[in-house]
Structure formats: structure tokens, C-alpha cells
Amino acid sequence: MGQPALRQWRGCAAGAVVTSSLDEPNLIAIAGFFIFIVLSLGITYLAARRTHNAEHFYAAGRSITGLQNGLALAGDYMSAASFLGIAGLVALSGFDGLIYAIGFLVGWPIVMFLIAEPLRNLGRFTFSDVVAFRLRQAPVRVAAAIGSLAVVAFYLIAQMVGAGHLIQLIFGLPYELAVIIVGTVMLAYVLFGGMLATTWVQIIKSVLLLVGAFLLAGLALAQFNFNPLALFQAASDQYGPGVLGPGGLVSDPVDALSLGMALMLGTAGLPHILMRFYTVPDARTARTSVSYATAIIGVFYLLTFILGFGAMVIVGQDQIRNVDAGGNMAALLLAETVGGPGFLGFISAVAFATILAVVAGLTLAGAAALSHDLWVHVIRDGQASDQEQLRVARVASALLGVLAIVLGIAFEEQNVAYMVGLAFAIAASANFPALLLSIFWRGFTTRGAQASMLTGTVSSLLLIYLSPTIQVDVLGNAAAVFPLRNPGIVSIPLAFVVAIVVAMVWPEPEAASGFSELERRVHLGDGEPVTDDDFRNS
């Protein structure tokens, strides 16, 4: 880990004896890639004809059903980093990969119990709507937008870098061109089709990814009488019983807990995930969609675990390491070994679709923070016509699309899985504490929310900079100021403590008096979409 793995293997594959066709352009992958692009642009065209105002652009006209939104949530969440990264982690270290897989799932029950329904009933387009519900609009929204954009930026870097390497690998295109293609196609979905097109891209991707993972796991397990235990046994026979138990990946217990906290609470602070709850008509549908998402994502990670072991036994660890030291190509190598180049092409196209869908969701969330939170509510004080909102949202999307391309090219050498872990840590520290307290605590205040969101963002970024990953691995220093690789265990409690202390030291009677209305709205919603007037403080 920590290496720009895919590039590295291109270098070594030239010299090493590798029997994989991974380094040649795969015609089926290219065909699959074009079919997906044509199909998704067709959907975008249809969606564009129905996208006339901000309600359509950000929230798909609140027309998405529970199952659709469940699939789209899963599509927004199951990134190529987890599909390829976790499978690779399992293939090289066995059991340890399961720790990550579980961490990515257990955030969903938390979203369900604490966040989803209140969020749907209180807000309109972004989670800042909820935090600002009874607090002063401008200061809260500025802080929330900073937190959201920090998360979106880190997450975008991870996805764009992953996309660039994957396409470079499969199609033999230069890295920069690959990043530009992904950015441009994604931008077409978002600019013209808004949330409706993005949702359908995510749904299709979700189904493709599940079908692909099921087929691949089925083909791998077919060699073991469809008995996963026989597969694990074979792995244990070949590589020693150590692969079935905890290994060296989690060497520091405190770091393990810190990562666990970030993964569990970060899901409930990811702006692109939270935004999806506004696409459904009511809180009950939001609830249904989380239950579908939790089921789908759980199945997906269990399958990924089996894929990893399948690759370990059927492809072999040496072969996987030969192709990529980080193991990121394990799932693709397994596809080629059990299904031939055609199946490899299919799985590669699925991985590509996966990245496009996640990047589109992220761009939309960033655009909402820029235009809905900053432009409409801070600069225009909530007074913007529908046409103006839509125009600003599109300009913001275009800016973010360009930014995504630039970041993708600038951070080419960054490790993908690590950046995703950081995005979760920032989301858990910057967004989650303020969001939870604003729904839950009568005494919460504007200053408390501001202080919490800024402390969460700054402390997580600072601790990441002081961590061994940056200080030792990147800068080459002998030791790091902060001993942990993930900041969560410090920055999340810190954001909570700062929020509570600041709110208690500077009480805000107006915010407390708005809490009764918030409590009513949490349960009853409004019957109709919440309007801007509801957000304006008297």
C-alpha cells in the first residue's frame, strides 16, 4: 500500500513473465465501456427534458422510489476503491480485509437510526438545511459548506485517480487523457440530467456491480462445490492458517479503533450520501431506501471477501503481486482466470461504470454546497429565483468538474484507499457531530455548530498532516508528531466536545425556541416540500 500501484505494475509487467492479458487493450471492455456511456447519455437526455428547476436538479423532483433510492445509495457508496481495493486486501492478507469491509457497512444502521428520516423531514437539498433549520443561516452554511467541500475534494481525488489508472490500464490510454474523459462524461450527466440522470446512472451501476460480483464469486466458488468454507480451507492449506485470522495489518490497536470510528460515523456525514435522502417523497420512503441499501451493501462486501480469497487461491498471491504490488488488480485477474478475456472485459467495464457514478454523485453534492448553501443562502440571503438557482448550480458543477480533472491529474501518485479513509474521517469529524446535535439537542447554538464543524475539519486535516503517513511515508521524516494514521479517535470526540462547550458558554435563546417546531417537523414533515420561507429566521 502507499504506492501508485497501477503505474508501477505497468513498468514491471513489461519485464516480468506475466501471463495476463491485462496490459493489452481489451475489446470487450472497450465495447462495454461504450455501451455504458451511450446508455447513460441516453438516460441523461431523457432526464434533461424533465430537469427545469432546482428541485429537479438537486432532488430529482423527489420522485425516486424506495428500491430505486436504495440501489442508488448503494451505487453512490460502493466505489471501485472498495471493489478492487478490498478484494486485493483480502487476496494479499486474508482476514484483515474483512475489517475494512465491515467498517464500510456498519455506518448504514447509524444513518438509519439517527439521521435518514429527520434529515428528509427537515431539509430540502443539503444537510446544511437541517443544521441551519433553527440557527442563523449564513454562519452555519459557510461552515457546513467548508466541511462538505473538504470531504468532496478528498473523495473526488480518490475516485479520479482510481479511474485514471483503471482506464489507463484497460484501454492503454495516457493517464491524463483517461482522467479528462471520466471528468467530461460525468459532467455531461450532472450538467444536463442533474440528480435524475445521476440517480439512474447509479442504479444501473449498482445492478451491474452486483451481477458482476455474483457471477465472479459463483465462477470462483464453482471450483469448490459452491462451499466458501472449502475455499477458505484451500487458502489455509496453501498459505498457512494465518490467512484466516487477524494479521499484521492492524498492528496498533488504537489506530484500529480510530479507523473503525471514522468508517462507522463517516457514512452519516458524507454529503453525497445525505443528499440522496431528498430524492424520495417522504421519510417512510427514506427509511425503506436505507434498508435496501444496507442489504445490498452487506451482500456486496461479503461477495468481495469471497472474491479476495478466490483470487488468493485460484490466481495466487505471487501472480497478483507481480501485476500490482498493492493487490488492486486481484478481482480483475480472478475474472480473467475463471472467465477468460471476455469476462475480464465485462468486469472492467463494470469497474469503470462504478467510478463514473460515484464521481457524478460527488460533483452534485459539491455543487449543492456551493450554489444552494453559499450562493443562494449566504450571498443572496435566500432570495434567488428558480432559474437563477439552476444556472448557479450548473456553473458550480462545471467548476467542480474541471477541479476534479485538475485534482485527478495533480494527485496521480496518491494511494486511493488511503484518500477514501481520510474523506470518511473528515466527514465523521466535520459534519456528523453538528448534524446530530442540531436534530437532537435543544441547547445547540449557531456558534456551537460553527465551532464544531470548523474544529472537525481543521483538526482532522491537521492530524492527517502530522500523521506517520504524511510525515514518515511521504516527507521521509524519522518520526511523526501524531502517532496515528487515522485522526478519527481524536477529531470526532473533539468536534463533539467543542460543540457542547461552546453552546453552553454562549447560549442562544432564539435557537432553543425554534426547537419545538423542529421536533414537530422531525416527525410530521410538512406534507409538502419545505420552502425557503421556513428557513428564514424571524
Binding site: F95, P109, I110, F113, L244, P253, G298, L302, F440
Partner: protein, 91 residues
């Protein structure tokens, strides 16, 4: 009992369930992480050929997440929604 008291009761019931389930999920997950961190050899024990205690417990954490979500959805669909429906239009 007036409508505001009913709302307050519904609110208290919703948060009681939500917080109880959240704490259960956290205990299970962090319990698993702590075992991974401090009881490595225990988790490496084989329960049956090919199945270590660690893999079994890990899979069970995922199953537990499903069950907790199912418990919440069942409660909300049966009790919470009818409470909300009874209050709608009166508040």
C-alpha cells in the same frame, strides 16, 4: 392527553429505540475491533475446517447490522407510522 403530549411521547419513543439500536451496533462493532486488536489468537481459532472464529464473528457483525435495521423498520412501520398518522393534521 393533548396533541403536544402525544408528539412528545412519540418523540421520546423514537429516540429511545434509535439510541438503543445505535448503542447495540456500536458495542458489537467496536467489540469486534477490540477482539481483532487484543485477542488475535482467539480469533484465529478454527470453529470448523476452513472457518475461523474471526471470519464467523465478522460475518455475524454484518448479519447483526441487517437484523438491527430490520428491527427498526418493523417497529417504525408498525408503531411509529401510525403515531405520526394520528398526529398529522392536528399539529
Amino acid at each position: 392527553m393533548n396533541s403536544f403530549d402525544e408528539l412528545r411521547r412519540l418523540n421520546a419513543a423514537r429516540w429511545r429505540i434509535a439510541i438503543g439500536l445505535t448503542i447495540t451496533m456500536m458495542v458489537l462493532y467496536f467489540g469486534f475491533i477490540l477482539l481483532v486488536a487484543f485477542r488475535k489468537s482467539l480469533l484465529a481459532t478454527l470453529v470448523s475446517p476452513g472457518l475461523s472464529l474471526g471470519i464467523l464473528l465478522g460475518a455475524l457483525v454484518i448479519v447483526a447490522a441487517w437484523i438491527l435495521v430490520w428491527v427498526y423498520v418493523r417497529w417504525a412501520n408498525r408503531h411509529y407510522d401510525s403515531g405520526v398518522a394520528a398526529l398529522r393534521g392536528r399539529l
